[in-house]
């Protein structure tokens, strides 16, 4: 309800941008009041699991964003590293100290700080990938659903072809191509962009299909016919009328895909084809620590792993709740 309300407000505002000048602030107040009074919020409050998941996600996102301020050290500043601090165990084990609460890795980097900075990178890539995939998928889905016919067939067959490849394989493919095409020294700079592109190209189809289905249902409804009758141009119909009504299910897909995007990036980095060691995300950290797992320095890999798992789980739970809560209204 709140998401659709936002879309409704956006669409209305877009259509009547100038009409809403005066009572702007009051309208925000009313809108917020509506959100907190809505059925969605009530269903949210009733489910402790969801509230817990939301809190954890928010905390992790906030921590990641504020990494620069709250991290005890900057693990990527080579000047601050001291090899003598290397492979310290976590603080509560013998040999550890509270200066490095979760221990250090083989280079003396503080694991806690590394997790904070790494989460920032993982989340950043995840959000960027999801937003771009949504933009691409929703656009193609709207075009396919609205036009139908040959355009629809072409887009959907491309989507089918894409679906026949596993996501990781596509990501590896794109990564390989990028590596071949880009000179070696530039590779580290664009590594994150390549990862984002890989995730986008491997996940846009879900959005396209969902939006296409909604668009095909809404397209035959009478309010769309009324808009055509008024003489509204097709682009404006699709963006102003169709999009707000078709976007609901997409938000659910996006939330769940966020977790998937983070995981995909972690997998790619773990496999060595994602981010380079100088830009560690959670995946790279896990990879780095992998070598030390069996030699007894387990904390280098396990803590980033736990952080990743908790992040993905809480986002997934949020997505599950969102899907169930929006379901009866997704008609």
């Amino acid at each position: 309800m709140s998401s659709t309300l936002v879309c409704g407000s956006i669409a209305s505002r877009w259509a009547l941008a100038d009409l809403a000048s005066s009572a702007g602030a009051q309208r925000w107040h009313l809108a917020l009041h509506r959100v907190f009074d809505s059925d969605l919020w009530w269903s949210f409050r009733r489910s402790p699991v969801t509230v817990g998941a939301a809190v954890i996600s928010l905390v992790m996102v906030a921590a990641a964003l504020l990494a620069g301020w709250i991290a005890p050290h900057d693990p990527f500043d080579p000047a601050s590293l001291n090899l003598l601090d290397a492979t310290n165990p976590p603080a509560w084990l013998p040999g550890g100290s509270w200066r490095f609460p979760l221990g250090t890795d083989d280079q003396g980097r503080d694991i806690l700080s590394a997790i904070l900075y790494g989460s920032r990178l993982s989340l950043g890539i995840g959000f960027a990938a999801v937003l771009l995939a949504m933009a691409l998928g929703v656009t193609l889905g709207l075009i396919a659903g609205w036009r139908g016919g040959l355009v629809d067939t072409i887009i959907m067959r491309i989507a089918d072809v894409k679906l026949s490849f596993p996501a990781i394989l596509i990501a590896l493919l794109i990564d390989g191509v990028a590596r071949a095409m880009v000179p070696h020294d530039a590779q580290t700079e664009i590594a994150s962009l390549v990862v984002i592109a890989a995730i986008v190209l491997s996940s846009w189809v879900q959005y396209a299909r969902t939006v296409r289905a909604s668009a095909m249902v809404e397209r035959d409804k009478e309010y769309i016919q009324a808009a055509r009758m008024i003489g509204v141009r097709p682009v404006r119909i699709v963006v102003g009328h169709l999009l707000p009504n078709a976007i609901g299910p997409v938000l659910v897909v996006a939330t769940i895909n966020l977790a998937l995007a983070i995981l995909t990036e972690a997998t790619l980095s773990f496999l060595g084809v994602g981010l380079p060691p100088t830009q560690p995300s959670l995946g790279t950290l896990i990879r780095n620590g992998n070598d030390y797992l069996l030699s007894g320095d387990w904390w280098i890999s396990i803590f980033p792993g736990v952080a990743l798992a908790v992040l993905i789980l809480s986002i997934n739970l949020l997505g599950d709740w969102l899907r169930d809560a929006l379901n009866p209204k997704l008609r």
């Binding site: 659709t4 100038d18 409804k221 309010y223 009324a226 009758m229 008024i230 003489g231």
Partner: protein
């Protein structure tokens, strides 16, 4: 300015839908192409200021005609002439926006005809903005308030969303939106069929008042003969994509000619015929993809003869009424008055 002659003229209009199974299936299983002739040669005209009703059961093609008139479908053959000008040519070019504003439509479903995500004032303002009828926000706001009052809603209702209104109120909003572009001609596709009876009379009265105040012409589509009796000046009865009878409302209800019209008038459940044991009526409307040869009504017609089974009847003038029936033409059937109690 306004040319003499009918405001709307439909001339031998056809609209076919290709409902063949996909090419692959046709190849594999040798299935033939299937053509749904939703509108199969319809002609009539509507004068200024009058209400012309199209009546028929579901599948007869009346809704298709509505959409052909407003341009949501393009005709497969035939012409739609609005104020003497061809409304849309088959190559897809639309006529000027000017023409668009003069012709508007009101839909059947009050729930699906308004965008659930838009506020009511945006919905009503959309034609004003698209056709640039009003300049400036203040003027826009004023005009929207004016339109809302015209349909007996309050200007404050503009801030709400459609789902906050009842069916009847939503239909008023639809009417306000249709009136925004100052139309001359309104196509009303079953505007009250989805409403409760006591709300229906409110909306019908509103439509009558607006017609008088604004000089509107209506094409009124319905399956409800009683509503049509109240609203229409002329009536066209449709069956399987063709017009079987066109007459003034008085003549149609007093002396129906075509056997199908008589069937309709005889069989509608009415509160005036309490406990009536009606004679049982045969058959159902055939599948429009595979209509019977000759006159489409012959399988159900008690007066069908051999000619009816092979030859399609053309409309014939029978004392002011146009009827497409061999039995009427051959004089086998005289117009008879309908008995009405009360």
């Amino acid at each position: 300015m306004a040319e003499p002659g009918p405001l709307l003229r439909i001339d031998n209009l056809h609209r076919h839908f290709d409902v063949s199974p996909p090419a692959f299936e046709r190849l594999l299983r040798g299935k033939p192409r299937a053509l749904l002739k939703a509108v199969n040669g319809v002609s009539f005209s509507i004068g200024r200021g009058e209400t012309f009703a199209l009546v028929g059961e579901s599948g007869c093609g009346k809704s298709t005609i509505a959409r052909l008139v407003v341009g949501l479908y393009r005709p497969t053959a035939g012409h739609v002439l609005f104020d003497g000008r061809e409304l849309s040519r088959r190559d897809g070019r639309r006529d000027a926006a000017l023409l668009r504003g003069r012709l508007q439509m009101i839909f059947q479903d009050p729930f699906a005809s308004l965008n659930p995500r838009w506020r009511v004032r945006s919905i009503i303002a959309e034609p004003l903005r698209t056709q640039r009828l009003v300049a400036g926000n203040a003027a826009l706001r004023e005009r929207v308030a004016e339109l809302l009052s015209q349909v007996h809603l309050s200007p404050a209702d503009g801030d709400k969303f459609p789902h906050e209104f009842s069916g009847g109120q939503r239909q008023r909003i639809s009417i306000a939106r249709a009136l925004a572009s100052n139309p001359e001609f309104l196509v009303c596709d079953e505007p009250t069929s989805a409403l409760d009876v006591s709300i229906q009379s409110q909306i019908l009265n509103l439509m009558k008042d607006l017609q008088r105040q604004l000089g509107l012409t209506y094409l009124f589509i319905s399956h409800n003969l009683a509503v049509i009796y109240q609203m229409a000046d002329h009536v066209g009865v449709m069956y399987l994509g063709r017009l079987v009878e066109i007459a003034t409302a008085e003549r149609l209800f007093a002396t129906p000619r075509h056997p199908y019209t008589r069937l309709l008038l005889d069989t509608i459940p009415s509160i005036e015929t309490i406990g009536r044991d009606r004679p049982s009526v045969a058959g159902e409307m055939p599948n429009p993809i595979d209509p019977p040869p000759g006159c489409g009504f012959h399988p159900r017609c008690p007066f069908a003869n051999d000619r009816c089974r092979h030859e399609r009847p053309e409309p014939v003038d029978d004392g002011g009424t146009l009827v497409a029936c061999h039995a009427v033409e051959e004089g086998r059937l005289a117009g008879r008055p309908i008995q009405r109690t009360g």
